[in-house]
């Protein structure tokens, strides 16, 4: 039985890891701070995957060396799958991310500009290596999606999901802009209206405590939960979450015993 996953998401901007709240970034600390506060050799037992997103202004540069160096520093002591994203608009960038240790790349805004590029990534690296990411918020009773760090309105939520499905990405990650970084939990309205997809779905935006992960993971449509909340899970927060989740759900990775 394939297990459901808990994913830690890191936002990197110009040398600093940030807490994202409603997509506004608060600078928290550099890679030394991060490594000091999150014992990566330990949390590898409690999280199933790591996602690191470059949201720097120069993210479109083919090789943002300071970013990839930070990635390598983090990955020295943690042995879980890694996804990298941010500024992926061409194959040089994709190759740079794979060369930096990524198992998967995360594609977000490029969908509104060049869907052929997404198809070509899937063709070249396989669907399992491509994660489609969707940012959404509510507006006048509708759920709408946004590209470019939540700046440009794009599609209706269900249309965006369908487009990624049609393109055949390996996984879809959805981020709730309204709940991002709030710690109030995932939106039940969204959880209750998730469609059955042909690929795994990762839900992010709102988790603040272990109970929130369980609430979402109970849904059949949800394969994984993600959080980028740098404060709520600092120290042994992921260990506590993991123990809590494992006590309630049996379709998650066994804890080392």
């Amino acid at each position: 039985m394939l297990k459901k996953r808990l994913i830690f998401i890191l936002f990197y901007k110009e040398g600093v890891f940030c807490l994202s709240r409603n997509f506004r970034l608060q600078e928290v600390g550099d890679v030394r701070w991060l490594i000091d506060k999150f014992n990566f050799s330990q949390i590898g037992n409690f999280i199933d995957e790591l996602v690191i997103l470059d949201v720097s202004r120069n993210k479109y540069q083919n090789n943002n060396e300071i970013f990839t160096l930070a990635v390598k520093q983090i990955m020295t002591n943690i042995f879980v799958p890694l996804s990298l994203g941010g500024g992926v608009i061409n194959h040089d960038k994709v190759q740079n991310y794979f060369d930096s240790g990524a198992d998967k790349i995360v594609l977000n805004s490029v969908i509104s500009k060049n869907t052929n590029f997404i198809s070509s990534c899937i063709e070249k690296y396989g669907a399992q290596a491509v994660v489609g990411s969707i940012d959404f918020k509510r507006e006048q009773g509708e759920v709408l999606t946004y590209c470019d760090n939540g700046e440009n309105r794009y599609l209706k939520f269900d249309e965006h999901l369908k487009l990624f499905q049609k393109l055949g990405v390996g996984e879809i990650m959805i981020n709730d802009i309204d709940r991002d970084g709030t710690g109030i939990g995932f939106d039940p309205m969204i959880l209750n209206s998730l469609p059955e997809l042909s690929m795994p779905l990762i839900i992010c935006g709102g988790a603040g405590k272990p109970e929130h992960f369980v609430e979402a993971l109970k849904y059949r449509e949800v394969s994984a939960v993600g959080t980028g909340n740098l404060f709520n899970f600092i120290g042994n927060g992921f260990e506590k979450s993991r123990i809590y989740i494992s006590n309630i759900l049996d379709n998650v990775r066994n804890l080392e015993s």
Binding site: M1, L2, T76, F79, V80, Q128, G170, N254
Partner: protein, 203 residues
């Protein structure tokens, strides 16, 4: 000495980090060298079967590995590395190293009714007593990412473990004397994966 075979087509960074973390000394092998001087070899791999065979040939390692006396050298194949140890694969036209008498097949052709690729942490549900993997893998979760695999049905003389995925059982580890293989990625499977690498390097 431990040798990691670097095919250049895959990222071996996490494997190198894992061995460093375990304080295991190793050398990276990029081209033909005296493989017989290594006590342990690790053959990792990501990518397609033929690209793996091509890379081995290009590095002048294909024949050296095929002819190596595995009485004195242990080898661990990881993911595509495991498949390259087999005879052939439905994924490609080239012949594998043939150290294991197995054919690699598309999971669909093995009757898999689940989503392909098989990606994520899955639990080893069955393991024969092979004197190595049993305690390390049985009822434990490891990270898989693959569309092709060896089938339980083809197993003859090797000891194996398997993982259940939908309606089929996929081989997760193989042991035949000094030939070891994992379909999953120990270097992406947390502490449990590190334990396997440590045990291999010290066995």
């Amino acid at each position: 000495m431990i040798g990691i075979i670097d095919l250049g087509i895959n990222n071996i960074g996490s494997l190198q980090n894992a061995l460093k973390n375990l304080e295991v000394n190793f050398e990276t092998i990029k081209s033909k060298s005296n493989l017989g001087t290594f006590s342990h070899l690790i053959l990792p791999g990501v990518g397609s079967f033929d690209s793996g065979v091509d890379a081995l040939e290009k590095a002048d390692l294909f024949d050296s590995l095929k002819k190596l006396d595995f009485a004195n050298t242990k080898i661990l194949g990881i993911c595509l590395g495991m498949q390259l140890l087999c005879k052939d694969s439905e994924e490609g036209l080239r012949k594998g190293l043939g150290l294991l008498d197995l054919n690699v097949k598309n999971l669909k052709n093995l009757g898999c009714n689940e989503k392909i690729p098989h990606v994520g942490f899955n639990e080893v549900s069955h393991c024969e007593d092979d004197g190595f993997f049993k305690d390390l893998v049985y009822k434990k979760d490891f990270y898989f990412i693959h569309s092709y695999g060896a089938s339980k049905r083809d197993i003859k003389n090797v000891k194996y473990s398997s993982v259940q995925y939908g309606t089929i059982d996929i081989i997760s580890t193989i042991k035949l004397n000094n030939i070891f293989a994992t379909q999953f990625h120990p270097e992406k499977s947390g502490i449990l994966g590190l334990k396997i690498l440590k045990e291999f390097c010290t066995c």
